[in-house]
Symmetry: C2
Subunit: 610 residues, 2 copies
């Protein structure tokens, strides 16, 4: 199946995405308009992204002393993307948007991630502008968000600092009011920022006219001290080049300077930077400090930022998923064409027979089926979550609330699961290629390198695990967790009478019970040190249980349409579900056992014994 | 613990290596001479290898049209290695060797793999010369082996071909007798070879004076046809430059030409080549065909080659292990020094407290302990196997025979287990570093790239799995498997009365039973297609069971010396064992379930449904 076929099945047959067109916001849309968006994106990805994926890897961004140089292909690709209107796809018509459901936007963006994840589409620009649409003033929307949506300017998110990667409470960038009338700037209360930001993607480049940084910083209290913890954090718009209220450049450079480019293992098409804010390299009006305009209320910066977190994390999940998919397609193609050895038959091997294609070997099939079940399963999960975003935004009432809660619980899985298992898929894609997979003549080694980032950025695996077991499954009296269990139970009920799925339904029921029991046992002493000591194994078990549910539900849908499994695609869906239930779901036992027993082997291991 | 401390414990406390000095071959040796070898190698590795590991990665070998250029550091390192005498460490005194036990040689070589795996030590040169010592004529030993052991020449193994990677039965390189008196050449029956060899490590370079290729090729039958299958394969010495019986270069270049360098994901310090034999670029005496001298009997080439296979596979296992260890040391160092966040306490977090070092976080400890248990466990396994090589060669009688059989069963694990799990260790080493681990400013990303090769070369994971379940556990009526079970049972008996280990002993007993039962059930229908459909999950379960046994045995030894666990090193060994039994061994359930049920989900998945 092609990526397009897979997406069509998931969006239409499984998620009934066109049902969204019954809502006022999407009333002008139809299956046809959705298809047109997918087609356009598929074409741009094929023409402008895929052919340059290796080039983006080998021609890493470099700084010539004045400018950061990227390959021309990256400029061209991002221009084509901006021209497609995808940057503002979800926005109102009045903002120049398409009022597209997020689930269709996410599916359309998947084509670019599959073609070349690191050339990039502008996920940060969209996220940045989306945030301003929610928390910004009208002027901030008009000047900053609008010019980002059009592709005239691009955007970044500046959270981490060299001494504070995952630990945002230790942000040390300072923002002080810029003069007595700081509150009266039409672009927003005006501050001067000083500090260093690390891991800033697209922090410096010449792809478009200006870069709009969204920066977390702390406003000192009356004594000039920074408030410890995350409560003291505020959010600021810091443009690379100063602009006026008309959105024109004023010709003044803001005091944001590139301190260094990070040289990465992969994902090399995207510049990653260390930025110095307010070090005095480009003083504005003769004064130190980068000019920044406050967004929202002081001290509420993290809340503003986290507003976009679910979508950003789904975005990372999709990137990881699409790298898995790209490796799957490449290794499937190779396996179909590469002759090597002979499959075992009942009577052994016949050395005089011609060589077979390697797809005829059982173990190669195992490696392909694992990749397919990881990456197609992950894609289904991501689109399911994307749909929840649409439900949260447009369903209204109790349904919207239910979607919000489900999203809270599922987001750590949507982010972490593909990061781990589609990376494993990429390793299998290399393995299918044998020695050739280890060379740079084939694309799979790059997918594997690119994908290794996803367990790190937008909250590491460890952070996702703490979020899930420490917060999400407990929040609002476990209501999100209960809602998820209800959905799983509904799928179990629906499938327990279908012969091809009944055994899986039973297994899922057991897994759900086991995860529930482990959650209880982890917290049974009420000690976070004990409950969270094995948060990552818990995340892994939870993720595998969610994916098993997704596969069961997807297979049920395929069988609804084709109960006799007459189509190969149905055999594919049912086979993937079977693979997942036979080969993958049983892994949760090992992960849950340490959670249940609140095993402190690691936590209590003496440092000196390492 | 340092690598040296770990090796000392395993060699002396656990394996009682000095007991070997009671045997005639090692009678001149003592703990002191063994220590001196380890010390020398540790020093050379520290001075000549470690500082240049990144350089070897960034200054990839390149061909300038005439020569393959490698960094000067690689020349210097290999020269220092040759001068240490390690190339002939295991050889007789008369050959200039040290008559060192293989287990000490393997341990000493581990330092180089840890410092820079791809600068390389000459494993292929030693393997090549060792093979000639067993199967070559006196003249071949004198001319070729001796000059390889001295480091004057280097050696390669030429097995794979572009159309025949894992499938040696499809070797198409031809060897025809070179003239009527071909049988009378003093260097061995003289043939002319024609064909292409792929994936040849160190196939071309200028590090030393000459390169001695050992080449698999087929001698056509009376009808000029190649015998299908592996039975038709013979083995030839093909020097890059022609030599005389005095071991002097004759000034004539042999017809072996570099067809291309492979550009790899990692392991870049080692040249990897495609070689053309006999394409006519360098005709010898005006005739086509590379000159090759037969080793051993015609048609017995693969048997000669496989004679060295156990040691070659242990060598790969050690390389994988040492990369895991290198990543562990790097991430441990980082975790001890990097401040970030605050550990959870019973009362939550105090944002105003200073940041902690990340080693204080439970999940970072988990990632470090996993790395430690993977890589130190793997090292123990490799040294155990190396000791079996010594027993096989020098114990004599039934003990030697037992060692041979155990080695047959354990070799697929020694090769595959570290390739998979020390790669996982390297991924965890990246994760401990967070974003920094994804940059090329830290060494861990290179370890991860370098290590990805080990699941591919010297027999892929799939090949090892077929070897284990298809051959090794069945051979000689399952005698090797039974011997291994006996050894495990002995460890279980020995530890079931020790409070800290009794529960582990019980778990190992159950795992051993489960693996035994799965072996039976896999073969219960006698159909190789069914038995071997899940050979890789079987290999994984078998490997984890072996490692659990190794850890139990190592921990028992540590407790023998220090029953009250007063030393940190004992706490480390016991903690690693505990980690392995709690977090790792339970994984075998999922792998064995598909083996036991002879699950055909993958094997029967229709190609069109992918």
């Amino acid at each position: 199946m092609t990526l397009r076929t897979t997406i069509d099945f998931l969006l239409n047959d499984w998620l009934d995405t066109t049902a969204l067109t019954e809502r006022a916001r999407f009333a002008d849309h139809s299956r046809e308009t959705f298809d047109a968006v997918l087609e356009t994106c598929e074409r741009i990805a094929r023409e402008k992204y895929a052919p340059f994926n290796r080039l983006a890897d080998t021609q890493e961004p470099h700084f010539d002393g004045e400018k950061v140089i990227l390959p021309q292909a990256t400029h061209d690709a991002q221009k084509a993307y901006a021209e497609s209107g995808m940057l503002s796809a979800a926005q109102d018509y009045e903002m120049g948007g398409m009022q597209l459901p997020y689930s269709v936007e996410a599916a359309a963006n998947a084509f670019f991630a599959c073609a070349s994840v690191s050339i990039g589409t502008g996920m940060l620009t969209t996220g940045n502008a989306n945030l301003l649409m929610v928390h910004g003033t009208d002027m901030q929307k008009e000047v900053f968000a609008k010019n980002e949506f059009s592709g005239r300017w691009s955007g970044t998110m500046c959270l981490s600092e060299p001494q504070a990667g995952s630990s945002l409470s230790d942000v040390a960038t300072k923002a002080v009011p810029d003069g007595a009338d700081f509150a009266n700037d039409p672009l927003g209360p005006r501050y001067r920022l000083k500090g260093n930001k690390m891991w800033i993607s697209s922090g410096e480049h010449e792809i478009n006219e200006n870069i709009i940084h969204l920066v977390l910083a702390k406003i000192p209290d009356a004594d000039g001290k920074l408030v410890p913890g995350t409560r003291g954090i505020s959010l600021f718009i810091v443009p690379k080049k100063m602009v006026n209220t008309q959105g024109a450049l004023t010709g003044v450079r803001n005091d944001v300077a590139l301190a260094g480019l990070n040289h990465k293992l992969g994902w090399r098409g995207t510049t990653n930077t260390l930025l110095n804010f307010g070090e005095g390299k480009f003083p504005v009006e003769g004064q130190a400090g980068a000019v920044g305009y406050l967004v929202g209320k002081p001290g509420k910066g993290l809340a503003c930022m986290f507003h976009m977190m679910n979508e950003a994390r789904i975005g990372v999940g999709i990137a990881a998923t699409m790298l898995g998919m790209a490796g799957y397609y490449a290794s499937l193609e190779y396996a179909k064409n590469r002759p090597q050895g002979r499959p075992i038959t009942g009577s052994g091997k016949d050395a005089a027979a011609p060589q077979s294609r390697i797809i005829e070997h059982a173990d190669v099939k195992r490696m392909l089926l694992a990749q397919k079940s990881y990456s197609e399963g992950a894609l289904a999960l991501e689109l399911y979550c994307a749909r929840l975003v649409d439900e949260h935004h447009t369903a209204g009432g109790a349904e919207a609330e239910e979607a919000r809660l489900l999203l809270e619980v599922l987001t750590p899985i949507a982010k972490s699961w593909p990061s781990e298992w589609c990376l494993e898929a990429n390793s299998l894609a290399i393995q299918v290629h044998g020695g050739y997979g280890y060379t740079r003549d084939f694309p799979v080694e790059q997918y594997w390198r690119d994908n290794r980032l996803n367990m790190i950025h937008e909250g590491t695996h460890g952070i996702q695990a703490m979020d899930l077991l420490g917060r999400k499954v407990l929040m609002e009296d476990g209501k999100g967790m209960a809602l998820l269990a209800n959905r799983m139970t509904a799928t179990i009920h629906r499938t327990s009478g279908i012969p091809a799925l009944a055994a899986h339904a039973k297994s899922l029921g057991r897994a759900l019970q086991d995860v529930g029991a482990a959650t209880q046992q982890a917290w049974s002493t009420g000690q976070p040190t004990e409950a969270l000591a094995n948060a990552v194994p818990y995340l892994q078990a939870f993720g595998h249980t969610v994916l098993a549910w997704i596969w069961l539900d997807v297979a049920a849908c395929a069988l609804d349409n084709d109960p006799k499994q007459e189509q190969l695609s149905t055999q594919g869906h049912v086979g993937c579900a079977r693979f997942f239930f036979h080969y993958e779901l049983p892994k949760i036992g090992a992960w849950l056992s340490v959670v249940q027993s609140r095993d402190l082997t690691c936590a209590s291991f003496p440092e000196g014994a390492f």
